[in-house]
């Protein structure tokens, strides 16, 4: 498929805002691919981290916002640590994830679902609770039997507790979360 590089100025401006949030200067990248080469998740990505940057350099925002790579990123920051040009790729991935979410684009739904459950878990208890977390995830995602074999071990060794630990001042935590999420997508 042929790609047009006559990107509308508005899109370029949008890209500018996004990369500014991540403190990334796109022009600095000379496409050496050291980010991709060191990326533990690159194998599972549809486009490589280097290509994410390349797309943005060329003004192809839509392609980036709907790619899986941004969601597959494990936030390990190896790319940013090794980039010869100080491009903070990992931070950019994070900002792109937030942007995609704002537009309700979630190409890897499981990852998004887990994050939502995790956050609602905190909303409920102020602390995260592994059993509730995994159980709700398995129900929501449809992976009903994922890791159930580990459960007996966890129980026998008292590694799980069924009564969640809860923060005392739940309302304070909730208020902070609501304020922070105003503007972003509510979990």
């Amino acid at each position: 498929m042929e790609i047009s590089l006559n990107t509308p100025a508005a899109t370029l401006a949008e890209i500018g805002t996004i990369v500014d949030k991540a403190h990334v200067e796109l022009h600095k990248c000379y496409q050496c691919g050291k980010c991709t080469a060191g990326c533990p998740m690159a194998d599972s990505m549809d486009i490589t981290p280097r290509e994410v940057i390349r797309h943005l350099q060329l003004g192809l925002l839509a392609e980036v916002l709907r790619c899986e790579a941004v969601w597959v990123c494990a936030s390990c920051h190896t790319c940013s640590a090794r980039c010869p040009n100080e491009v903070d790729v990992a931070h950019l991935m994070e900002v792109l994830r937030q942007e995609a979410k704002k537009r309700n684009i979630t190409p890897v739904p499981d990852v998004d679902k887990f994050a939502r459950i995790f956050i609602s878990n905190i909303r409920s208890f102020g602390k995260s609770h592994e059993v509730v977390l995994c159980a709700s995830y398995n129900v929501w995602s449809g992976h009903l039997f994922q890791d159930v074999m580990t459960f007996p071990h966890l129980v026998m060794n008292k590694l799980v507790f069924f009564k969640p630990h809860v923060v005392k001042d739940k309302t304070a935590v909730r208020r902070i979360m609501d304020k922070a999420l105003k503007g972003a997508d509510k979990a």
């Binding site: 494990a74 903070d88 208890f125 592994e130 630990h165 902070i176 922070a180 972003a184 997508d185």
Partner: protein, 296 residues
């Protein structure tokens, strides 16, 4: 040696062995930990993937509580993910006056960004702690070959995590060496274990555990020491699964580095919860604890 203590959610669940061993070691060496009252979850990857402010708010609340309760103490954090999240919030607070004002507004609490957040690798590698550990080692793990695994978040981003070396940190190696164990030189100390995806994206994450174990095995490690409940859980839980699925022969029990410390100080494996690991970790310890006599 006195710190305010943020245990983090995992310490009350899957990370119990970490919790037990930290308590054992700190008691032995006279390190005092004062748990922050009413701390909340750091939000982990889920929070900062969703919104930068969410991660900031959740962590700033905990930091503000610590500042109010223990104004003179550094905050010691065992879990790498919590450590990273709390440090990020601390760095934001310290970045500018405007940012600090924004945080105060968000959490509706007084907060000045005063108290440093440090990891247990740091608390234990300070000279007084190192000295106290040396003095308390009574059952040296003479000759046990350990690969120290640091993971991502105690190493990166470097300016937040502040490791001694991004690619080849030595802090844990130096601490573990005090137990008489030998830390092996290997290449995957700071490679990612895929922790963030172990529930939601297993097909991508499990291979990462595979390559970490492979390199540890290739470099002659008999055990892996970790400093993060999540890393420990992943490496531990997937090992048997990988052996079954791929026909590999990994036999590398995973420990918290504090478990090794505790046992060298005389704790029985059961006392620190060694049997609680998924991959059988008891027999290796029994072997070394018998072997290691009093002479170094």
């Amino acid at each position: 040696m006195k710190y305010s203590y943020f245990p983090g959610c995992a310490m009350k669940g899957a990370g119990k062995a970490y919790d037990f061993s930290i308590k054992y070691v700190t008691k032995k060496i006279g390190m005092e930990l004062l748990e922050i009252d009413d701390w909340n979850c750091c939000g982990a990857t889920a929070a900062h993937s969703t919104s930068a402010d969410l991660a900031l708010g959740l962590n700033a609340r905990t930091l503000a509580l610590a500042e109010a309760q223990y104004p003179d103490l550094e905050i010691a954090v065992p879990c790498a993910a919590c450590y990273s999240a709390l440090r990020s919030a601390l760095f934001s607070a310290r970045s500018s006056k405007e940012k600090l004002a924004k945080i105060q507004d968000l959490i509706e609490m007084p907060y000045e960004g005063k108290n440093e957040v440090i990891s247990f690798l740091e608390t234990f590698s300070r000279p007084d702690a190192m000295k106290a550990i040396t003095e308390n080692v009574v059952k040296p793990l003479g000759g046990l070959k350990v690969a120290c695994y640091y993971g991502c978040l105690t190493s990166r981003p470097a300016k937040i995590a502040g490791p001694d070396d991004v690619e080849n940190p030595m802090q844990m190696d130096d601490i573990v060496a005090l137990t008489g164990a030998i830390s092996v030189d290997w290449a995957f100390k700071t490679e990612c274990c895929g922790g963030a995806h172990h529930v939601s994206y297993q097909k991508g994450a499990v291979p990462l555990v595979d390559r970490i174990l492979r390199n540890a095995q290739a470099n002659g490690a008999e055990a892996i020491a970790t400093a993060c409940p999540l890393c420990c859980l992943n490496l531990d839980m997937r090992q048997g699964e990988l052996n079954k699925k791929n026909g590999t022969d990994y036999n590398i029990p995973i420990y918290y580095f504090t478990e090794l410390l505790a046992m060298s100080m005389g704790a029985t494996p059961k006392e620190v919860g060694v049997e609680k690991h998924f991959f059988p970790a008891l027999s290796l310890m029994e072997k070394y604890l018998v072997k290691g006599g009093s002479a170094v």
